[in-house]
Symmetry: C2
DNA sequence: CAAGAAATATTGTCTAGCAAGTACACATGT
DNA sequence: ACATGTGTACTTGCTAGACAATATTTCTTG
């Protein structure tokens, strides 16, 4: 396996940790993060902290305007709809293409295997292999630009996944089964069926998440 | 018209100028740009220059590895194919959606009007309105994430457009006509026809550009 | 209580500099 | 002559401290 080791810069390491803390809810939505906070927390100079914050801003997990303090994003129902719709745009086209060449990415199958092995009761553990399943489908097209486009969405996608699982809106086995059926469609070259199943797969997650959010907090942004 | 003026940071201003110079060929593909070069050229501190360079790197117009000097990208035939394919993925889906709601973005029509008004003989003048035509279609969906995905591609798209026009591979009037017919399909709700025409529109540009590149420089990267 | 003014916090940018990594020419040994 | 090491110059990564410009909060005053 290539790329086992990697020398990461301090900025990247801090950005990675901030990302993780946002996903884990350690940094709650709406929480503000000043450059000085980050700098002192990681014991680095302020410009270094600034660079890490700006990286996360580009990913869409933090937001800030000029001269304003960065803030952890709060995804409202409309934002969730946007994220899932954008995913559906790209992923369904990707599936059509993979089905056309009957490509079943090895890594997607492996990731889904890990989902099957999960114990019940730890719903959050599904997020990582679930994300990897979808990412490996995108990357299997072999188009760097398409992968890059999807990467600009991945942060928010993951946030949505975490919320779906935290609220236990979807059963692990259902996710696994649908992934499996998608892979079977790819192998058989059934482009339309694969795309339709993906739409269903994403649509259900979206609808349940939006519904759950609508109850607790009314739509506004 | 909103947003006429904007207070831009020094970093943004430098990034914008670098971008322009890359599009205009003032900074030729393959040319290296050190942080110190940029800093002294614009008379700013090196960290400021660094930030500007990093912005352009994420846009895909410059590339650099850790501890390596930034370099203006050279788009090979494979990269050009990737760019046009990625565009087609997103834009055709967008057109289907706009046709579904019979939406004809005002700004797209205006941009295409400007193309019609162009004199012959200044082929590069078409790039700006052409880009605006396609961008306004994307933005008309009203999905921030989809717009963001497309933005991550825009730099390279523009580079391709500049090359197509520099080599005079496409006639201005043909571009205008096809844009017009796309808008008519949208107005009439003909989703499949709009998407098919777009594929043709992009496919021809891609094929001619790739062919022209294949002659002068053999495909390798 | 509301509006304005001062104080505070935060970001944008700068200067200066050291440490670490890279590249390229040169020298060395076989 | 060729491969391998070595050294030097160049470039980037990061730090420290500082100041100006902009936001935000607090306080004062009508």
């Amino acid at each position: 396996m290539a790329g086992r080791i990697a020398a990461v810069s301090i900025v990247d390491a801090i950005a990675a940790d901030l990302r993780t803390r946002i996903f884990e809810g350690d940094l709650a939505p709406g929480r503000t993060l000043t450059e000085a906070d980050v700098a002192s927390a990681y014991e680095v100079a302020r410009p270094t902290a600034k660079a890490a914050i700006e990286k996360i801003v580009v990913e869409g997990l933090l937001e800030r305007g000029a001269h304003k303090t960065a803030r952890v994003v709060e995804l409202g129902p409309d934002a969730v709809r946007d994220v899932y719709l954008a995913r559906a745009y790209l992923e369904s086209e990707v599936l059509r293409r993979l089905a056309g060449s009957r490509t079943v990415p090895q890594e997607a199958a492996e990731a889904n295997g890990e989902i099957a092995d999960l114990e019940r009761g730890m719903p959050l553990d599904i997020v990582e292999p679930d994300m990897r399943f979808h990412l490996s489908l995108i990357d299997a097209v072999g188009n760097e630009r398409i992968s890059r486009m999807y990467r600009s969405l991945v942060g928010e996608v993951r946030l949505c996944m975490v919320r779906v699982q935290s609220l236990e809106l979807l059963d692990t086995s259902l996710i696994h089964d649908e992934h499996q059926r998608i892979l079977e469609h790819l192998e058989a070259g059934r482009a339309d069926e694969a795309a339709a199943l993906l739409d269903e797969h994403l649509g259900r997650a979206r609808d349940r998440l939006v519904a759950a959010m609508g109850e607790s907090a009314p739509a506004r942004d």
